[in-house]
Point group: C2
Chain length 275, copies 2
């Protein structure tokens, strides 16, 4: 455990999805400054080899450390799944990924010891959540939901089409021997934007675990501070200094990012990392 | 015009989408051999700078020429839009892109001189079709349809969700002053798989121009051979030798590719191009 009076937290993702993790961090740990790195020019990481993802991720977190990050959050399921150990070895500061906190919260919430994880094709193929949950004695079904990210990016978070797609995916996920699963893990940083819709579509007895929120709790634990429970007051949030780095267009990042962060994204710098 | 007795045609795309162009080529020009290069590890090109796309595309078409391609087809809208001139300058053989043939066919088919082009966000942002069609005296509306590629990749080519999404996109595209457009250009290599569905959803008076087919016709013209009209007989197709190169997993390429090509994808070699 590290105790830093007013920490600077570095958040890394391949794109804008990790901004839902930053949003959760701002709610729980408002008395911190944040640096966010979105490797938007090189996404998606899901189709790349583990070696390439590790190389990109290490470059990005080094950049964050060089700019003052005292704790790192890997807000990217693919990078956490494929490159967490390499990132950790190369870092001078503590590193928190999204998978372990989500698995902890799911294991804690499940009475039936049976959990469903939804995510992208790449996250499901990595079986990172399966490993983390099985290590906690939980039976897991992983379900890839490849249309949910593009639906969120289209802005259709409360659209009848998205509801229909979610119904199809969840009915496939909760079929047969997974019928009595009682926890649904949102294993993709885009999915928190679909939480109200997924709450309506998922069976009533199911607890939804949002790995962005679980990660924010884990970070608070690492900082040995009490996380704030419930939504933060707006004034509290304004205290944090936010800086953003994007490898693709800063304008595009601002435009797309605001939806994920829940408020305007201002201070964005374009960064050109060498391969 | 080049006349080659039995040509070897190189087809390049960032992924598997260009296989719909290869499929159209096989239908129209069965007496040829084909090399297909899918830069699957570095897709999507749409989020990358013009310089990066040009660099990747030139590397890929050089690879195809080194392996015997005597004519090159750039079956990738983004590469055609952003890097066609650079590819052409660097090539020892003739190069055909997807945009000009599609624009030719659309200009030929439109009585009202008003055309709608649908494509990905990146293709629409490049305005390559707009430029090509306006140069032919055609008024254009370009409409980005970002959900159609993931829907095709999910295999939902005849799914009620896809029909609903297509209805929304096309009603937006054919609104207001574009109501009397009489041609719809499929400006994305994934969309030929949606042609039957789009035919049902588009207004009856609208002609659908499939840029994959238009490109196959243009290639036949370059080879100074008569394209075959109508579907080829299956025996004719078996005459062609097909070889595939993919920068990401060969297995994944085979699995995804078969749907786009319309028959099994066999001879796939993994290629690791240096950055």
């Amino acid at each position: 455990m590290t105790s830093i009076r007013r920490p600077t937290i570095g958040v890394f993702d391949s794109g804008v999805g990790g901004l839902t993790v930053l949003r959760a961090l701002l709610d729980r740990i408002p008395n911190a400054d944040y640096l966010y790195f979105g490797d938007t020019a090189r996404l998606p990481y899901g189709s790349k080899s583990a070696a390439t993802v590790a190389h990109y991720a290490v470059g990005a977190v080094n950049y964050l450390q060089d700019h003052g990050a005292e704790l790192l959050v890997i807000a990217c399921n693919t990078a956490t799944a494929l490159a967490f150990d390499e990132i950790k070895v190369g870092s001078r500061v503590e590193v928190v990924g999204v998978v372990e906190p989500g698995a902890d919260a799911a294991a804690h919430a499940s009475t039936n010891r049976r959990v469903i994880v939804i995510g992208t094709e790449a996250t499901v193929a990595s079986h990172a959540y399966r490993r983390a949950l099985e290590a906690r004695g939980i039976t897991v079904r992983e379900k890839a939901c490849p249309l949910l990210v593009p639906l969120v990016e289209e802005g259709w978070t409360e659209h009848p089409v998205t509801e229909q797609v979610a119904r199809i995916y969840l009915s496939e996920a909760f079929a047969e021997d997974a019928r009595d699963a009682d926890v649904l893990v949102l294993g993709c940083t885009h999915y928190p934007l679909l939480k109200p819709l997924l709450r309506r579509v998922a069976p009533d007895h199911v607890t939804i675990v949002d790995s962005a929120e679980s990660t924010a709790h884990a970070v608070a634990g690492h900082l040995a501070i009490d996380p704030i429970h419930g939504p933060a007051e707006p004034e509290r949030r304004s205290d944090s200094r936010l800086r953003f780095f994007a490898t693709d267009s800063a304008e595009k990042f601002k435009k797309m990012g605001a939806r994920f962060l829940g408020h305007p994204v201002e201070d964005v710098v374009h960064v050109d990392l060498k391969e």
